[in-house]
Symmetry: C2
Subunit: 331 residues, 2 copies
DNA sequence: AACTAAACTGTAATCGTTAACAATACTGCA
DNA sequence: TGCAGTATTGTTAACGATTACAGTTTAGTT
């Protein structure tokens, strides 16, 4: 493998000069720099990142940590996240992917191994990890799950606003009897989405009857059972907001199973806009959570943070968008 | 950050001894080793991988390269692959993820940066990359796409066999008029699946009429148009094998659009078993391609290859499994 | 007890970079 | 021309680990 010393020999300069020339130091005369750059290119020189890391104490790797990669249904998630990240990430940074649940020793998560860390968080249980990263002083951005702690950089979708918009739309279509299948208890996203649901109903002076609040946990199955319960009500709702698409799919299957036509008899609204929301039958009307955008923005923030570590953290909200498809009918 | 020299000072030995003790060298007396290990643990020692890499010339990173992460529909793909890989990968290996299409300079793909490379290949166009990796002498395993070259370690699903099994099943359900929507022309997988299709029909002495071979390119839209063409035939088939699930979904939508009931009027079979195959309406009967298993096996092969580079390459086939759901009716 | 071999530990060089400091080469001005 | 001051380049020591080689114990044999 060829090193800066090889280049130095060919160029007739010291390896230090080569290092400086290749790293854009202002100390080098233009002609020297050009010559060295040309020679380096000709010799197909590629720097040894281990050596670089050793002395600069930077690792050139960004860690992307998921709550879990062993389980969890939302899979388009990962792709979208990686897309967004690699879109803005410099080519000579490496992106490594890990499941938080498979990190054995927090001690291995050190500044020397990660220049920055992105946590794609889906659960409260990530907090221990997040705080470890924070106390280690590694530049950190938490994506997707809203944190209470204002001391950590956080990029999330504006769930509440997005849900409200979706419900407003359903109201405009003539619906008046709304139910909600709630998300996993204790999750910030669950309460945010529920809030958006209530915001809209209150704004339209619609009643909030307790029997229209069905418990769920974001799983397909929970959507199925919650929907079943709602359909068995004496006076079923005409529209159901499901706190995520997975539950909406479960709900839709429940409707089929109970012979309730979607959307004629029950209209359905989801949240997330997972890839297959477009291909359910009928296609699911849902609130699009722009994971790629969140990841991209988060990565930009992380890069900033890496450059000026002193920066004070922010909470950023990314706008969702309503994907109107075929599961909400006009009444 | 604490180094082996710090440990050496505390333990009252040289840093060499520490290095040896911590790396399982047989030269170290058991008591010394134990004492050093205890001290290292107490001091929360974590080795500096840059320094290690520099001298051992190993990078402790495995690269996972996808044809593209910017495009391509099959997204559950990535998750499953990462799952399978991280399942068998030692914790002190890093897994980095890249899109082949976003690799600017092949020169940057060097043995010194990757101990091994996994290519999750979806397209012929990956060959240039694959051969670069091979000529660089980096241990390499290509997953998912069958290669012609026997010189490269290759792990794929046994598509042909899997399709045959699915078709056999449909025949057992009484179907006799079979059409196929083919995959992207030129892809090995397309011809393999087509072969499986024909294998079964020939085995059952069923006729292969040319009008039942519809062109496709693995996209949802191509599935839609191909199905439309098939439905417009004077004598439409009773069962259609779609060379992947995406096209099956497109086909299903075409059926809806043309008022053809699935499966009563047309039975549908897919391939891949993407996550949402379970949640189409009706749920799609399909051939499961076990990406996680393929990745896991491939990673094991890669690890072997890294340990004994001389090993001669193999082509491994992983068995598919037929997922019987609701899109094939009995006639 | 003396000597040899085996078992263990230490010294110092090395990996490819960067960077503090030293050295040299240029420039302009008196 | 000589000299200060700046611009450019070189020397050398790190960074934290591994490893060839040298050195020191320890055990075993006579």
């Amino acid at each position: 493998m060829i090193t800066i010393k090889d280049i130095a020999r060919v160029a007739g300069v010291s390896h230090t000069t080569v290092s400086r020339a290749l790293n854009g130091s202002p100390l080098i005369k233009k002609v020297t720099r050009d010559r060295i750059e040309r020679i380096a290119a000709e010799m197909n020189y590629v720097p040894n990142y281990s050596a670089k890391s050793l002395v600069t104490k930077r690792s050139f790797t960004i860690g992307l940590f998921f709550s879990s990669i062993e389980q969890g249904t939302s899979s388009s998630f990962l792709v979208d996240a990686i897309k967004g990240i690699s879109h803005v990430l410099d080519e000579n940074y490496n992106l490594t992917v890990h499941g938080i649940d498979s990190v054995q020793h927090f001690a291995a998560i050190q500044p020397q191994r990660f220049d920055g860390i992105l946590v794609m968080s889906q659960s409260d249980e990530d907090n221990a990890f997040i705080y470890h990263v924070k106390t280690m002083g590694i530049p950190l951005v938490v994506l997707n799950r809203q944190l209470e702690d204002p001391g950590i950089m956080n990029v999330v979708a504006n769930d509440r606003e997005g849900v409200k918009e979706a419900l407003d739309y359903a109201v405009s279509q003539g619906h008046r009897k709304f139910a909600i299948i709630e998300g996993k208890p204790g999750f910030k996203s669950s309460t945010e989405r529920k809030q958006g649901f209530m915001d809209s109903l209150i704004a339209h002076r619609l009643s909030l009857s307790p029997e229209y609040f069905a418990a769920g946990d974001y799983s397909i199955d929970s959507g199925y059972s919650a929907m079943t319960a709602l359909l068995n009500l004496a006076d079923p709702p005409t529209a159901v907001f499901c706190s995520n698409d997975d539950m909406a799919i479960g709900a839709m299957n429940a409707c089929y199973a109970h012979g309730a036509a979607v959307p004629q008899q029950v209209s359905l609204i989801g949240f997330d806009d997972i890839m297959f929301a477009r291909y359910t039958n009928p296609a699911l009307t849902t609130v699009r959570k722009p994971i790629a955008d969140i990841s991209e923005l988060g990565t930009k923030m992380l890069i900033q943070l890496m450059q000026q570590p002193g920066q004070n953290p922010q909470q950023l909200f990314v706008k969702t968008s309503l994907m109107i498809r075929d599961t909400v009918t006009a009444l």
